[in-house]
């Protein structure tokens, strides 16, 4: 375990202003105590015992979630509030929540993960994952499966987390230990953790979209659907799979979600066997397009816009002019084979994920570059993220000789400096 040295960023100081007076006093005391701390993790005046339990580290995984927000929900409202410990995940989903400034007990609070990019698909992660905080558990994984465990606990359907884990493990044919594993890291040994997790996540998101109440946020609807699935798990006595859990739900529009869960399980299993994780990523990227199509297209009163999985896949294939090969249609049918996975893998490759510069000064100015140099300055005529200082070379060229010269000369020097500084981050 890595022990994180407490640091006080301006952002944290900002949070301090919103803490209650007592908490603030404690926080300042902690900061003062650690303020002069050296580089050694064991040398802090507060002692190794204290610093070792002042942070929660873990990993957020559907695929690894990059740049996702992780927070500890101190006030149990499900939303990120000022003063709640939060962190962004790394490129491999890693996070560390520093709760050294929290005066209350953190045991059993919800760790909530939203946003970022699912690195398996290159898509923005629009889901919501949760797990229960425990000081005893470092390296806490937060996955769709821990979210399901959490939904059981949240509804009091089990005595404790362990009992809830037992329910989920039994229902999905996994072990309690499996539920604490990083599904991606366990791909070689226990691929079922991953296949069940990604199937569950996609089913929940589709169900949430199809059953959202007016004005209900997507995350709230997902929470509601996960709780509904938790109730089915509670009444389950033998092994089933995600699609069977979904089919047994007491909510509307379960047909497509059940079909989707089956398709995800089958195609990802096949993909993992034939081409490993990369093939699985491609299958998921293709399946996510089908899912999103169903979410956006669904109209319960129109059979042309049903929640039938093959119908949505067929529409996308048709729009791509792939009416003969029908790669997505084949993928979502039950008999996925390696050849079908290959066809999809040629078409749906996950993109690269890029973080934005943290300091937003100059961001809007720099966005004037993106029409020709790509979003974030990543391509087009040429990439300018990192070093855009060449723009100054154009200030002395005749404006009509080069479109870049004409463009560059429309800015003040201060504006060019701001653009360059932003893109240098």
């Amino acid at each position: 375990m890595t022990i994180k040295k407490p640091k006080t960023s301006p952002r944290q100081l900002h949070h301090l202003r919103h803490l209650r007076p007592l908490a603030l006093a404690l926080a300042i005391a902690t900061l003062a105590a650690c303020g002069g701390g050296g580089g050694s993790s064991s040398a802090g005046p507060s002692g190794p015992g204290n610093s070792s339990i002042s942070s929660l580290s873990g990993v957020a995984v559907d695929g690894y979630l990059q740049g996702a927000t992780v927070f500890l929900d101190l006030n149990k409202n499900g939303l990120q509030d000022t003063g709640e410990p939060s962190a962004l995940t790394s490129a491999t989903g890693q996070y560390t929540l520093d709760y050294s400034q929290v005066s209350s007990a953190i045991e059993g609070l919800q760790i909530v993960v939203t946003g970022g990019v699912d690195t398996d698909t290159g898509n923005t992660f629009t889901g919501r994952l949760t797990a229960r905080a425990s000081k005893a558990t470092q390296g806490q994984v937060v996955t769709p499966l821990t979210s399901l465990v959490d939904a059981i606990v949240a509804q009091g359907l089990a005595a404790d987390v362990t009992a809830a884990q037992t329910l989920v493990a039994t229902a999905l044919g996994l072990t309690v230990a499996d539920l604490g594993k990083d599904p991606v890291a366990a791909l070689a040994s226990t691929p079922a953790i991953y296949t069940q997790a990604v199937a569950l996540q996609r089913a929940v998101q589709l169900l949430a979209s199809l059953n959202a109440n007016p004005g209900e946020s997507s995350h709230k609807a997902q929470e509601r659907m996960m709780k509904a699935i938790a109730k089915v798990v509670k009444s389950q006595e033998s092994k089933v799979d995600v699609s069977q859990l979904v089919a047994a739900l007491q909510v509307a529009n379960t047909t497509g979600a059940s079909q989707l869960a089956t398709a995800v399980q089958n195609s990802v299993t096949t993909a993992l066997e034939s081409g490993g994780h990369d093939s699985a990523k491609a299958a998921l990227k293709g399946l996510d397009q089908v899912r999103v199509r169903m979410e956006n297209d669904f109209d319960e009163n129109d059979s042309d816009h049903s929640d039938d999985l093959a119908q949505a896949a067929g529409k996308i294939d048709d729009e791509h002019g792939l009416t003969t090969s029908q790669p997505l249609t084949n993928l979502v049918t039950d008999d996925s084979d390696a050849g079908e996975i290959d066809a999809v893998q040629n078409l749906y490759q996950p993109g690269t994920v890029v973080a934005q510069p943290a300091n937003t000064n100059g961001r809007l100015l720099a966005s004037n570059c993106f029409q020709c140099h790509g979003t974030g300055g990543m391509g087009g005529f040429d990439a300018i993220r990192g070093d855009a200082s060449e723009v100054r070379d154009y200030l002395t060229k005749p404006a009509g000789s080069d479109i870049m010269a004409a463009h560059a000369q429309g800015y003040t020097n201060a504006q060019l400096d701001a653009i360059i500084a932003y893109l240098q981050q």
Binding site: K285, N296, H320, Q371, A383, I403
Partner: protein, 473 residues
């Protein structure tokens, strides 16, 4: 880093760039492999290299419900940048009746057969899958400003904290013609699609040494496609395919060429001399859609009737829904003096109409002092997205936004010129004004290319692919 004016960067150079980027500690972003047409299949490989990337959304902690109406250049861009800059907590819904957007930019190249309409189609898969934008296939029928909701053509309603309208333009009945005439006889082809194909077919069927008549409405009109560009391309096509005696009569309601004066003066008087006849300041245009007889009054008052083979009336436009009884008009948002446009505060693109709190208008429908162009709409969208993110966070919009316009215009099937401008905010007059020479705005002018050539034509494709990627991918 290669220079802007070099040929589009090769894959090998991109890989070198990516390596350099890693060396300086940047995120590697150009690690595409395989065939372009297989990569990023969502859009059939239409975007430029380096764009099979997803930019991770900012972590803002903001929440809010934002409805975007219209999936063109402005609407797509604002939806994407609201996600990128506003974070994952925003609920963003894009309302658009079509399943894809057909680019107006480059659509003049359909007329000479060098592009197809389908090659200009951009779907919403990228926005939906990559950025978690909810795409609602419907049209807006009403805005309820008091309830902060919109009613859609399928009868459903969507409530909003912020509403961004990017509906584009409608085409007015003019010169004795109706919408049915535009659709079947005398296409304006000013919204890329079926009319573009129809006009292309009509051109292909023209007799040898025939006459093509086009009209240009008074400014403001949306551009591209550019009217002068279209005249040049049609002239190029006709003299190549239909004989040197072909005629292109350009009837301009404006008193002079409105953009790229030097390039198009050259194109009309030299490059396509003898084919293009340019009449400026015309009035009283009347077109018979069946006989293709066109009558007009020229600048000195002479009334002339021309018998044409093909007539292409680029008719006046107005903000979509701004006609009497339209949804925009019913909401009182078409508050320009002539009732055709929505006047906005250019710091945030919020409507200046009464009781329009939380309503923003961007793109061609807005009256913002900048050209009605896809490239400009993309930047208006970013300014609007930035302002909304700031407002949701309790801040004020950026007090000094900058926008830019860039446009390449093909003059022949293989050569192009360009036009560009940077717009700075003039706080005294609360307007966006052209800036040059170190950002100075006094006496500043839009810059046009000093010559047209094949290199510009190549750059045009890079510009187009990148711009579309920044908006839709």
């Amino acid at each position: 880093m290669t220079a802007f004016n070099n040929t589009p960067t090769s894959r090998r150079n991109l890989l070198a760039l990516a390596t350099a980027a890693i060396a300086v500690g940047m995120v590697p972003m150009l690690s595409r492999s395989g065939d372009d047409h297989h990569d990023d299949h969502d859009e059939g490989g239409k975007f430029s290299a380096g764009q099979n990337t997803t930019v991770a959304a900012a972590n803002t902690g903001l929440s809010g419900n934002i409805v975007v109406v219209g999936g063109g250049m402005a609407g797509a861009t604002v939806a994407k940048y609201l996600r990128l800059w506003g974070g994952s907590g925003l609920t963003i819904t894009l309302v658009e009746p079509s399943t894809s957007y057909t680019s107006n930019i480059m659509s003049n190249l359909v007329l000479n057969g060098s592009r197809t309409v389908s090659s200009l189609a951009y779907g919403y898969t990228g926005l939906a899958s990559k950025y978690g934008i909810a795409v609602k296939q419907a049209a807006v029928t009403a805005i309820n400003k008091a309830a902060k909701s919109v009613t859609l053509s399928d009868g459903s309603t969507l409530s909003y904290d912020r509403l961004v309208l990017a509906p584009g333009v409608d085409f007015m009945d003019a010169y004795g013609l109706t919408q049915a005439d535009y659709d079947s006889k005398t296409p304006h082809a000013w919204r890329a699609g079926a009319q573009t194909t129809l006009l292309s077919t009509q051109l292909a069927a023209m007799p040898a040494n025939g006459t093509f008549v086009m009209t240009i409405p008074k400014s403001p009109y949306r551009c591209p496609p550019g009217p002068y560009e279209r005249a040049s391309l049609v002239a190029d096509f006709l003299k190549t395919n239909k004989g040197a005696g072909s005629k292109v009569l350009v009837l301009d309601e404006n008193l002079s060429i409105q953009a790229e004066v030097a390039s198009f003066t050259y194109a009309f008087n030299t490059l396509h001399a003898g084919v293009i006849q340019y009449e400026s300041g015309v009035t009283n245009v009347h077109i018979n859609p069946d006989t293709k007889a066109v009558t007009y009054t020229d600048q000195v008052g002479t009334i002339t009737t021309v018998s044409a083979n093909v007539v292409n009336p680029i008719v006046p436009h107005r903000a979509s829904g701004s006609a009497p009884g339209g949804w925009l008009a019913a909401a009182g948002l078409n508050n320009s003096p002539d009732g055709r446009w929505a006047v906005v505060d250019v710091l945030s693109y919020q409507s200046t109409a009464a009781n329009a709190s939380g309503i923003h208008v961007i793109g061609d429908a807005a009256n913002c002092g900048m050209p009605k162009a896809g490239h400009v709409a993309n930047q208006e969208a970013k300014i609007c997205a930035d302002a909304i993110v700031r407002l949701l966070g309790g801040q004020q919009p950026d007090p000094a936004p900058v926008a830019n316009s860039a446009c390449y215009s093909p003059l022949t099937a293989s050569t192009a010129s360009w036009l560009t401008a940077v717009y700075q905010y003039d706080s005294a007059n609360q307007k966006m004004v052209v800036a040059d020479n170190g950002g100075r705005t006094v006496g500043a002018k839009v810059t046009e290319a000093s010559n047209h050539n094949t290199e510009n034509f190549k750059q045009m494709n890079t510009w187009f692919n990148t711009l579309m990627g920044d908006s839709f991918s």
